[in-house]
Every structure is written in structure tokens, then in C-alpha cells.
């Protein structure tokens, strides 16, 4: 299942809607890394609220996305990790070190706007 990627002002928002296979995650990674350049985005939000499992592959792929996007000159934030998922990740020893996380989409946008110095409310009016 392909993850829809929305452009919101200077940011890309990837909103995961259902369980993802490994191939879907890799596809998401490649799409984000490509689009962040094509759309000249300043930040990426990956919303994982709908993910009921974050195993080692999903965690590593999200980390890869963050670091690849950072090498492209933009910032990524993972939002919406659910309490049960966070509990399991800690039990597994999966840390997402170096990867910014935020509670939800709103907090994610606030995080990115602080990072790139533009006020959050401007996200709708800024194009390209």
C-alpha cells in the first residue's frame, strides 16, 4: 500500500494509513528523498499514528529516511508513535537515536517551523 505524501507549504507530510510491508517502507523512503528535492521542501513529517507495529526494519527505515533527508538539506520528524508501540520499541531496544519525534502532526509542524525559522502559521501561504 503506497503512502500518500502531501505538500503543505514548505513541508512534506507522509501519512501512513495502514500496516506497511518492507517494500512499502522502502518505497516511502525513496519517494520522500526524491520529492524533498523536486518540491524544494524544508522539512518532512512522517505520521505513524496508524502503525500498530514498529519492528526493527520499520525503525531502521525511519532512521534511514531521517538521515537521508538530512543529507539532502531538510529536517524530518516522526510523529504519532502510539503508547503500546513505544513500550514495545523500548523492550526491543529500538531507540531511534538522532531521529526527532513529536506527539502529533501539530507538534511536528511546530518543531519544523522552529527548525527553519519560519512561523508555523505561515505554512499554508508559502509556496515553493
Amino acid at each position: 500500500m503506497e503512502v500518500p505524501i502531501l505538500k503543505q507549504g514548505p513541508y512534506l507530510i507522509a501519512s501512513i494509513q495502514s500496516a506497511l510491508s518492507d517494500a512499502d517502507l522502502v518505497q516511502l523512503r525513496d519517494a520522500l528523498v526524491e520529492q524533498v528535492g523536486r518540491l524544494r521542501s524544508r522539512g518532512v513529517i512522517v505520521d505513524v499514528t496508524a502503525l500498530d507495529v514498529m519492528d526493527s526494519f520499520a525503525t531502521r527505515t525511519l532512521r534511514d529516511i531521517t538521515f537521508m533527508i538530512r543529507l539532502r538539506g531538510a529536517e524530518t520528524v516522526i510523529v504519532g508513535i502510539q503508547p503500546d508501540v513505544a513500550f514495545t520499541m523500548v523492550q526491543l531496544g529500538l531507540k531511534l537515536e538522532g531521529v526527532p519525534t513529536a506527539l502529533d502532526l501539530e507538534e511536528g509542524i511546530t518543531f519544523l517551523s522552529k527548525k527553519d525559522g519560519s512561523p508555523a502559521k505561515e505554512t499554508n501561504s508559502r509556496e515553493r
Binding site: D22, V53, S56, F57, D84, T88, Q91, L92, G93
Partner: protein
């Protein structure tokens, strides 16, 4: 709580006996357990990983596990199924509802006829992996579940059995 089985690890690999928790010749598994239900999921690619963990979550859900326990179980199944895809290409995940005395629980058995694990002891240590993973697959699953057994022979394949009991 005192009656719960203690976490144990059995390694019956011919070359790699790690913990002699049971006599080496005793069969993997537990004859005291009564099987109430069984589902087998053939693993042949990464979409089967998702199918296996979803079936496991539903099956464990019938036992009344808490939502965080269901997430632990689903994640453990995901890791075991991925090991099959990564190392053996194909295999099978067997999910069982078990009864042992007064307790009920779920068993996950991941079996394949892949290359086997040359050094089971190392594979069970945190941080070790020979493939693209965080190296937390097996040690992670062992932490998530109550019981964990692995049998692996180079050239013959690997069987991992893990159980979680309803508290």
C-alpha cells in the same frame, strides 16, 4: 505470578548447546501443553510478514491479552517472520493457542529450511547480525516473550519457538 514458567532458553543446535536447561535429547516444545487452536502462515515474502503478525494479534486477542501485550506479540512475530524472509527466503509461522495447567498462552513457531545459524550463541547476543538488521531480531524476541527456544543446524534450517502466557 509465582506459578508462571520462568524465562528459559533452549538451544538444541548440534554444535551450539548454549544453555542445558533440559537434557539435550529432549524434544523442543512441551508435551504438557494442550493445543487449543492452530494457524499456519506460509512465509514467502515481505507481505507475508504483515499477514503473520496480523493473524497472531487476532489469535492472541481471543485470549484477552492487553493491547500492549498484543503489540509485543505482533512485533515478535514480525521479527521472526522477517528472519525467515531474509535468511531462508521461505518458511512457515505456526501460531497456537496453548493451555498448560491453569494457564493459557500463545505459541509462535518460526520454521525454515534455510542455511541455519552457524553461531547461535552470537546470534542471541544483542547487537550481532550477519544481515541488514539492527541485530536485535533474536535477542529482541527473547526479551518480548516469556519462553524462547531455538534449534538450528547449518544446512538444515532453523526453528524458533516462543511462548507468551496470559497473566
Amino acid at each position: 505470578m509465582g506459578a508462571l514458567p520462568r524465562k528459559r532458553t533452549l538451544v538444541n543446535g548440534e554444535r551450539n548447546p548454549v544453555e542445558a536447561a533440559v537434557p539435550a535429547r529432549s524434544p523442543i516444545g512441551n508435551t504438557r501443553d494442550r493445543v487449543l487452536e492452530e494457524i499456519a502462515v506460509h512465509i514467502n515474502g515481505d507481505t507475508d510478514i504483515v499477514a503473520a503478525r496480523q493473524k497472531g494479534r487476532v489469535l492472541a486477542g481471543t485470549l484477552g491479552f492487553s493491547s500492549s501485550e498484543l503489540t509485543l506479540i505482533a512485533t515478535a512475530i514480525s521479527e521472526l517472520a522477517r528472519n525467515i524472509v531474509l535468511y531462508a527466503k521461505q518458511g512457515e509461522i505456526v501460531l497456537r493457542v496453548l493451555e498448560r495447567g491453569e494457564q493459557r498462552g500463545i505459541m509462535v513457531r518460526a520454521g525454515d529450511q534455510g542455511p541455519g545459524i552457524p553461531d547461535v550463541r552470537r546470534a542471541l547476543q544483542g547487537g550481532f547480525s550477519t544481515s541488514r538488521s539492527l541485530g536485535l531480531g533474536l535477542p529482541g524476541v527473547r526479551r518480548l516473550m516469556d519462553e524462547f527456544e531455538i534449534e538450528s543446524r547449518v544446512g538444515y534450517g532453523t526453528t524458533v519457538t516462543a511462548r507468551k502466557w496470559k497473566r
